[in-house]
Point group: C2
Chain length 243, copies 2
């Protein structure tokens, strides 16, 4: 498969919520750092990609959680670009604890976007060459995301600090709006075991966000949509277990 890369990370208190476990935004930020560091090493870093007028955009992710990393834990993040086709690059991430036990597995699909036009660009084999991931024909299928049918909603505003150094709203930040609507009691009594998320549309600075959600208590599931006006920007399902 592709070239693997790993980073060490000590989970800081400010990356954890009151459950003493890592938040979704912190977890996603740290794994993306691993892939970004690998790209830097392969001379395919953010600057190099930006100079081509391009930027990477996450379109889909599936997260499977055996155990959330805890405050003070020294974790290892391994990442591997697993395959690419004309439009998508696929990458997996694993988070391990110090004993080498797998805590979290994350799969992601990325596309290259033309910065000016905000349109998808095809992925060139030259660009992908140093990652050593196989070029494939197949478009990967992802598990279906169940839509919200009868949801409640809360309004949010994109903040200046929701923008990261890549000039767009960090995908990890979407989880701020997704998780916040569930509330304190839900969050202290449940722990996530899996999540699937589809990013449909960029969110821009100044946008007003509606975070729509439905709690399916019987099936231990929450359904989510992030909307900008009447446009769907993100869909997610999270599977939970009671503590």
């Amino acid at each position: 498969m592709g070239k693997k890369y790993s980073i060490q990370h000590e989970v800081a208190y400010y990356e954890c919520d009151i459950n003493q476990t890592m938040t979704f935004p912190a977890m996603l930020s740290v794994v993306i750092k691993a892939s970004s560091d690998q790209s830097d090493q392969l001379e395919r870093g953010t600057e190099a990609i930006n100079q081509l007028g391009l930027t990477w955009v996450i379109t889909q992710t599936e997260i499977s959680i055996d155990q959330l990393p805890r405050v003070g834990e020294k974790i290892t993040v391994v990442t591997e670009p697993t395959a690419f086709n004309k439009f998508f690059c696929y990458r997996s991430f694993w988070i391990y604890d110090e004993a080498g036990t797998q805590l979290v597995k994350i799969d992601m699909a990325f596309v290259l976007m033309k910065i000016k036009e905000r349109k998808m660009s095809s992925v060139s084999p030259e660009l992908m060459e140093p990652y050593e991931a196989p070029q494939v024909k197949k478009i990967q299928r992802w598990e279906k995301i169940e839509p919200v049918e009868n949801g409640e909603s809360q309004l949010y505003h994109v903040r200046f600090y929701d923008l990261d150094s890549n000039h767009h709203v960090n995908n990890a930040m979407y989880f701020n709006w997704i998780i916040d609507v569930l509330g304190y009691d839900f969050m202290v009594n449940h722990t996530p075991v899996a999540a699937k998320v589809k990013f449909d549309k960029e969110i821009l600075y100044g946008n007003d966000i509606t975070s729509v959600y439905q709690i399916d208590e019987d099936n231990g599931k929450t359904l989510h949509e992030i909307r900008v006006g009447d446009q769907l920007a993100c869909e997610a399902n999270i599977q939970w277990k009671t503590k």
Copy 2:
């Protein structure tokens, strides 16, 4: 003076804003981690303090910025408990770049709060002993914070992820509300050189926040207040220079 302690930190992309420099919340979180690590080492960590029914609360901070740490920079944070009296503990932090040049200096005052009663506790010399900071009579004076006279304001809501693993709204998060009101244009055209902040009152989960601000363009200064209802929770002045 007191026992010094230092940590190394590589500034990650998700700790920076679109200026490619570290955000206030990230900077404060990282320096507090240094003091928290030192306390752990001296067996005065969060758990030990909590077991006494106590928690540390920041009451005041002054930040002096020569240069903000940049994406990818490997910084060293040095911290030193400088003195304590009956109610206050004083601590300084320095952020250095790889060449040993000072980038940022931060002074802070802390009090011990009784968790249940939410009331200040006196600071015992036994508790402070391993830090080797001198016990003093003097209460440190801080620069006066200029109040907002003719401000505009924006509403915010405390989010679940604004709570940290210590169960209260992380002081670093106050800067989300303080900075966000200044807007994109201001933030890309100015860089902070100094800040002074007084934390008057705890902010709790579920609170609605009013971030009041006044931009004094002539003096390169912004004045801030964070209010919960009609109560003042935080006052701040930030000094800026134009880029």
